[in-house]
């Protein structure tokens, strides 16, 4: 293989970051609107800044403590670990921060561009803001891993970079998830139910917190989640490649650098696919445009991999690599489409919930529960098939187990190579949603609001696909981390057996602690929402003229309560995630118990991650289906029942479900960091 090829990696990373920079410049230059529109957009921006500044302060306090602690973990060469950890946290934070900034600039500009240039330009503008997040995620991720690998020379030592990203993801995704539902429930319960004012009404003190929440969840949260998967999958493959090279030096460095090179070309594929995003003669529907771009990016990636992997590893191995990358891409797309099928209101499952709503809330909940359960089956079986096909495609008898595991890691690398475009399509969602919200709050004409509703409803499909993609890639990444754990601890097949009672007990403990994590996160939302409800009630009571519209509510106070509460509620589930692998790892037989623990956690986390995301999405869309005039429409008994289903689904799909993505990966990362401790005990 030609070593020059690796130079493509920093080059492509910089291209990604440049694309992001240029897009941001164009975005900021666009017309931001005037008067009420600008005022609301600025209030949202102010609130988001308050949220981010408090969140980052806490994150960085903890990052510094962990960074110092890491310097003392054996096997990681002291300060090198701290440095990589800080860089990982900084890269993920930067991607999240820039992404949030872009999304908050884009909402009013998307609205303005609908007014001045029509829906096509507006779609492109909203997508551009999403692309900024997407390109930052892949650009910072790839560049960071490349630079640290180039300097440290051993992918093991780069692991703390991934840990840094995971730590930020814990805050952005779990903390952000608690934040967004606190604001949502608080705004709805007091505003809509008690004070009887409409949704998105500026008199509601929690309305700004609610609008920020969408960006917090889908831009910063999803970005940090996929940043973590993107980095961890790449490192896992490089570590397995490194172990192969250590054992069989004749293989050379190809297996180590291939993941980097593939990711470099995949950035090119995503960037090219992004150009296709425009409504044309053939593609009239905005949702088709975004799905087309995603699929185009898959096809281009597969093509690039076909050529590059043959250059790096020779024709036979190259073809096999292409095979597993295609397996990964297919699983990603299939799981995404499954999520769409089970949640989109144009398909039967969500409609069956809407239909059941006519028999009252209990049947609505039961039907949604069944739909959510059924939605997990295809993805779980897909991932199971992906595991053994990709193992088999790359399994080479003379290189043994590690070669098969390398196959699984490369399927994961392949799946996540389209991260750029997936994040772009997802981060588009809250921009369109916020634009529609601002149009509502500033009383725009019907036509403008209809156009924005079209753009907004596209967001739902891409969001569902992206959620499915995020969950399946998180599960596959967690599995890959688990395999890397087994490989680095040199766990033998015969010891790490289902028939070893320690491993089997570990499986059960992993199941129990994942359930505990999930229950704590759901309770966190209830508790924090309660605080928000109290504050909104207080403002309505104590600020004279608020309901009449003559006085302004104290938006900042509500943002502050959401933020503080979310950080406080994060402590218990966060500590469980960070400490349980450490504790289980150092007890007698800990190496085996921890292995079983990881397997149990992944299985339960994957199952419930899918269930919660899809059940929540299906309830949401069943409600929307009724709101479009079916089964009695808005205000009918069926609608009341559907709203109850939707409220139950909210913390499922926006808090607990996505939090599980983070949890199953983070325990794997922590386990990999304590391998040296486990090996001595």
């Amino acid at each position: 293989m030609s070593f020059d090829l690796i130079l493509i990696v920093p080059l492509m990373s910089l291209i990604a970051l440049t694309t992001a920079g240029l897009s941001l410049y164009q975005l900021v230059k666009a017309d931001a609107g005037t008067g009420k529109v600008r005022e609301i957009a600025e209030a949202i921006h102010e609130g988001a800044k308050a949220y981010l500044s408090r969140q980052y302060k806490t994150i960085w306090a903890i990052v510094i403590i962990v960074a110092i602690a890491l310097a003392f973990v054996p096997g990681f060469e002291g300060w090198k670990a701290s440095l990589a950890y800080i860089a990982g946290a900084a890269s993920s934070s930067a991607a999240g921060f820039i992404g949030m900034y872009a999304a908050l600039k884009a909402n009013s500009r998307t609205l303005q561009s609908v007014i001045s240039s029509g829906i096509n330009k507006s779609l492109q503008l909203a997508f551009k803001s999403g692309l900024i997040t997407g390109m930052c995620v892949v650009g910072f991720g790839l560049l960071g891993v490349f630079l640290f690998y180039a300097v440290y020379g051993d992918p093991h030592l780069v692991l703390p970079f991934s840990f840094g990203a995971s730590s930020v993801a814990l805050f952005a995704r779990v903390g952000g998830g608690i934040y967004t539902k606190t604001a949502d429930v608080g705004a709805d319960l007091v505003g809509k139910v008690e004070a009887k004012i409409p949704e998105d009404d500026p008199r509601n003190p929690a309305v700004i917190a609610d609008n920020i929440g969408d960006n917090v969840g889908d831009v910063a949260g999803m970005g940090a989640d996929l940043f973590e998967s993107y980095v961890a999958s790449m490192l896992a493959a490089m570590i397995i490649g490194y172990l192969l090279w250590e054992k069989f030096p004749e293989l050379g460095l190809g297996f180590i650098i291939l993941p980097l090179v593939i990711r470099g070309f995949a950035i090119l594929a995503s960037a090219l696919a992004a150009f296709s995003v425009r409504l044309g003669a053939r593609l009239r529907e905005p949702s088709y445009v975004l799905t087309f771009a995603t699929i185009l990016s898959c096809v281009l990636t597969a093509l690039f991999v076909y050529f590059i992997s043959q250059i790096v590893l020779g024709p036979s191995l190259g073809l096999r690599i292409t095979g597993v990358v295609v397996v990964g891409l297919i699983v990603g797309i299939v799981v995404g489409l499954t999520s769409d099928y089970f949640t989109n209101r144009i398909w039967r499952p969500a409609q069956s919930i809407a239909h059941a709503s006519q028999s009252g809330p209990a049947i609505t909940v039961l039907t949604g529960f069944s739909v959510g359960m059924l939605s997990t089956i295809i993805p779980i079986i897909c991932v199971a098939i992906a595991i053994f096909t990709s193992y088999h495609i790359l399994y080479i008898p003379e290189y043994g187990f590690l070669s098969g595991i390398y196959g699984i890691t490369m399927a994961d690398v392949g799946m996540l190579s389209i991260t750029g475009i997936v994040v772009a399509a997802d981060a588009y969602g809250p921009v369109a949603d916020n634009a529609a919200g601002i149009a509502e709050m500033s009383n725009m004409p019907e036509k403008i609001r209809d156009d924005l509703d079209v753009l907004d409803s596209v967001g739902n499909t891409t969001k569902a696909i992206c959620k499915g993609f995020a969950i399946s890639s998180a599960a596959l990444t967690a599995i890959v981390l688990f395999a890397t754990y087994a490989a680095t601890t040199k766990l033998e097949f015969s010891i790490f057996s289902f028939l070893n009672p320690y491993a089997f007990a570990g499986l059960f403990i992993g199941c129990a602690l994942t359930v505990l994590f999930m229950a704590l996160v759901i309770q966190a939302v209830s508790r924090n929402a309660f605080r928000m409800v109290e504050e909104v009630r207080r403002q309505f009571r104590e600020i004279p003229g608020l309901l009449e519209g003559t006085a302004k509510p104290d938006y900042a106070k509500c943002v502050d309560i959401s933020t503080k509460g979310a950080l406080k509620e994060l402590i218990a589930p966060g500590l469980i995630t960070l400490l349980s692998p450490v504790i289980l790892g150092i007890v007698p037989e800990g190496k085996i118990i921890l292995g079983g623990f990881l397997a149990g956690s992944i299985l339960i986390g994957f199952l419930f991650g899918l269930f919660m995301a899809n059940a929540g999405g299906a309830w949401d869309n069943a409600k929307k289906f009724i709101e479009f005039g079916h089964f009695g429409g808005k205000g009918s008994p069926a609608h009341v029942a559907a709203v109850i289903g939707d409220t139950i689904g909210d913390p499922f799909k926006d808090t607990a479900g996505p939090s599980l993505n983070i949890m199953i990966k983070l325990i794997g990362i922590v386990a990999l960091h304590i391998v040296p401790l486990i090996m001595v005990s």
Copy 2:
């Protein structure tokens, strides 16, 4: 060891059956009441007979087909398998039939005895009817296994006896679960909600079906479930003992016959403990009386085991056996008490749901969801600890893996040795419930109804404990069957590893299919309830004078719809359970995939079994807590929300949850039956 000791086994079985017979004689002799009481009791009895006759017809049609098929399965000596299978099905059916008969005779007699002799006699009478079921379960179970082992000489060949019991359990528990909720939902939705007549009103055409339903679920269903666990756990231990003896003939037959002997003495312990059931100076509370009897039976069993196992296996091994039996008994009791804590309205969890009901149905459901999730953690960790402690207590290096596995099976044997008293305490529940229902329907004086309500509320605690016991013993039995599968297929540790992608994929597939089973069972209830609703509406519409009380409804038609529908809805989940192990077992690498499948199924089945039973129980008792006058009492908004929670919980706790007990054991039994097929493929 003295071989005479084995004669204790048939002797104790006959003592159990004699106790059941004498109790039944005393019960039938008791005053059955007159007039309205007798009339209602007879209507319930008629309906139950109709249910049982249709159910048994279907069961026996299938039993005969399976029995013929079994004669052709290699490795089971043809007709010998068929015979054992038929005997297993017949024994379980007989226990269920006699138990149902006793329960249906007991309801009006319990009511009469409250009137004539007061609460103490009445408690004893109701308990006596439960004891009949309990003694039939252990008597038939132990006698059957003993006789077939005595004749066939190899516990492997007795496995079809257990399969026969499982087949009946599938109908009684899954079919019965669908039946009972169909009737319940149908009666409530049309009667209470639409026609606005009270619960248990004789004008409601579904009321008899509903009353039968309680007996179907808690007497026949629970009885068949525990019969299956009781028999399967004993056989698994005997098979492992047999494999030990094959490999190390110097060990003798002690390991094979010990489970039988222990179970024999445990019957004695249960019978003695049953005598303690009376309200005395010290034990004023009926619920303490039943809990005391259960604990007394544990202590006596442990004492007996301490002496017997030393006689059979010598002092050192005997002590170890006592150790694992105690582990099993403790786990059973702890899981039972956990269920009580999380569901009983006197404790915090159920009250927290009641409190949350004030914020509406969505928060009620979310709180119940969290409570249900949290309730699974202690039981799962308890079972995990039980697995490796009992493995370790009995692990003997020179006998290897099998000796450790024998420890786990003996923990299960120990746990289930108190089956008699547990079933008695559980089957007591519907008798007290029906007695209270009949008192309501026949307008008995306040005092009588209050006394019966006390007896009825005791039923709730014992029911919760028994449910927890049933789930944990089902899980441990499924684990034991899984270990027996590994032992008989001679699966090697190194092949059946977490690192084998086939085993890992099997784990995922097991998870997916268990979820599918669960979703199908929940949907079955919705669909069948819909049929029932239609029929009840039709009768109200078409039978003149029904609502005015001048005409009688067609109870039999409703019973028939529940029964037919339940059997029809059973087909899909039943086939999944029976066929998936066969299909997975015969594909390439099937031995490994099936092993992983069993592990995944057990984990998910155990988790959801606990979750559904406890969440359902907690919602139910939260509603009752409100009905006792808290948070606004009956009819308040909190009550409306709590009723929604309870309706969601109904198919969880009475259908899907208990069905999972059956499923995880049945796939293990089926897997053991196809071992010869797997070994040749």
